[in-house]
Symmetry: C2
Subunit: 401 residues, 2 copies
Amino acid sequence: MPETKPIRVPESEIKNRIRSIQKEMDAAGIEGLLVIQRVDLFYFSGTSQNGILYIPVSGAPLLMVKRYFPRAKSESAIRDTVEIGSVKELSHRIRDAFGSLPSVLGLELDVLPVREFEFFKKLLCPKQIKDASPIILDLRRIKSIWEIGQMEKTAEMSRLTFEYMRTMIRPGISEMEFAGMYETFARRHGHAGMLRDRNFQGGGAYSWHVLSGESGGMPGVLDAAASGEGTSAAFPSGAGNRRLERNEPIMVDFGSVRHGYHMDETRMFAIGSMPAEAQKASRAAIEIHDAVLERARPGAVTGDLFRYSVDLAEKLGYGDQYLGPRGHQVRFIGHGIGLELIEPPIIAQGKTDLLEPGMTFALEPKMVFQGAFAAGVESVFQVTTAGSRLISTVPVDIFIC
Amino acid sequence: MPETKPIRVPESEIKNRIRSIQKEMDAAGIEGLLVIQRVDLFYFSGTSQNGILYIPVSGAPLLMVKRYFPRAKSESAIRDTVEIGSVKELSHRIRDAFGSLPSVLGLELDVLPVREFEFFKKLLCPKQIKDASPIILDLRRIKSIWEIGQMEKTAEMSRLTFEYMRTMIRPGISEMEFAGMYETFARRHGHAGMLRDRNFQGGGAYSWHVLSGESGGMPGVLDAAASGEGTSAAFPSGAGNRRLERNEPIMVDFGSVRHGYHMDETRMFAIGSMPAEAQKASRAAIEIHDAVLERARPGAVTGDLFRYSVDLAEKLGYGDQYLGPRGHQVRFIGHGIGLELIEPPIIAQGKTDLLEPGMTFALEPKMVFQGAFAAGVESVFQVTTAGSRLISTVPVDIFIC
């Protein structure tokens, strides 16, 4: 059962993160940074109440909370925390605390809508505004030991949930109902229900990516090998109303989140038996998964790992299905994961990022047989000083139930 | 059970919407509009695949689909639909189809991130960019008969789900588990799982706003009377790990969505009995709800309805609890609802919008007794030519189970 005692982000974590971002701000010529997006705010302050954190390039940050101050105060290790009635107060609060407003202001331009941007520009009148998202996301790539510990707890929740799936999967229930059942189990163990991502379109981060039989063979809206059918044209991906059947391949891609930290894991299921072709493809996906993991170590180039996996898939005879049906293939096999379901770096075609110790990735080699089914596997791993290790503890196997 | 046959947005709907927005574009001096946000795209095209709709101020619109073209083509009544490999193709696609690029371009500036904005600005080089969100949202306020029909189907799904809650609510299960159970039931009847809103922060639109006992007495991050405890500081609202108990007030605020259209309904539950104070407050909320509904008719001023409800709450003795504990009160009692959970207009303090036939609102008078409990009710109603009528069909009552 989930701890009932609230977990507080330790003060040492917050201090390290502030210190690190200030170094990056200095290098980027950013005098002051407004942390507005709620996940970034949680990262730098430990609270995700309605507020904004101002980080000066040197000195102590100032947390300004609109709603609800007592909770923000008790959750956050930031010492200078004030209550504000309106965001308009930011200008005089910052001026009062730091003597002046920053002439070069950092904002999260990958997520901040234009209208909000114009508001802050007018309010703080900086000489220049710089995009601070790259330095924030760069910092977030490397997880601390404390963060890895959090992810391990989410992994344990997910492992239990996959075990539960094995006991209750059955023919006749719909993909959506099956997902509801395992999500309910996961929530009993701390799953928070809503996955986070930075895509302003929404619609891509959810826990019910169940693709049974031919649902797995449908390309669609997502930048993913298989999108599934979804429940309607208004939400055209993930689980739909199709009922699970015996003796068909069923892909369950379960994204989960506990205390802010995500896991993202895929396993193949079948009730009764799995057709030989699907079983063979699932085994090939596991072979690619294991082979990439072996090569995942500090210094490895993300683009090389991608290329290696494509070569291996072709060698195994899956050139026409790997990462999507020919013509609709995606160009990545993995993505960073942490406080958001999808974070940089991406293990993708042509990328030159190097793996570093403390990075965490979801690795997801998948095949799609158009109109027929999907097969694949997904685990979360951590780059260590020596190589890599799985954070996921779900057995890397095919589940015939 | 949900229809398995996909529902297609009728061509007549799409044509009306395009015609109406073109009239507004003309009045606003917008020569061409890019519909980028996925919900707006669904509204104007009938598909929410990965694509962008270009609407010229006169003439036929052009739907450009990146992924997945065959599904977009089959879902959308837009006739001119082309497949694109990259969003960069937009400039030549628009130039080819319309002879030139628009000199005044409309974009959805309330949701479009700065980085996307800069991309489109550079790509299309308009003389001027105008915020098109106000005219889009203005149009979406008035629902067609077809849209009301869709909302009625969501209402039926929600009614069944509230009935189900009454049969299975029990002490000992956590708020989150209870929510998972009823959401699973709702998904069996077409609930799509993810609610949509326009807030770039996310975190405010979910189906598990279950506040039991003192969880109801917690102000928090949300611009809502009661935020609940949530599962952690990373997601500090809605249902938490608290277990439901006998003889306490339990507020269930269930937002749901089916085929893109939302409902948002709140009822008070108790297992065994409800303390007299909570029961009295729940009855008062119903009295306010009914009295506001009586005054909701074309021409009514939203700010007046708000004020009227506050006066009535004070007369009933709830001045210190109405819409939140004193000092943390919210300043609205209702919000538009449709393809997004929260849409304009808002029935709020000082607002001068007039009710018009075809508008749909969630009306939610609530009281919060800080540290103790919340009480309230919420229904969705439609403004008719003569007055208003409930779309919600859940009995307006307190459920003692």
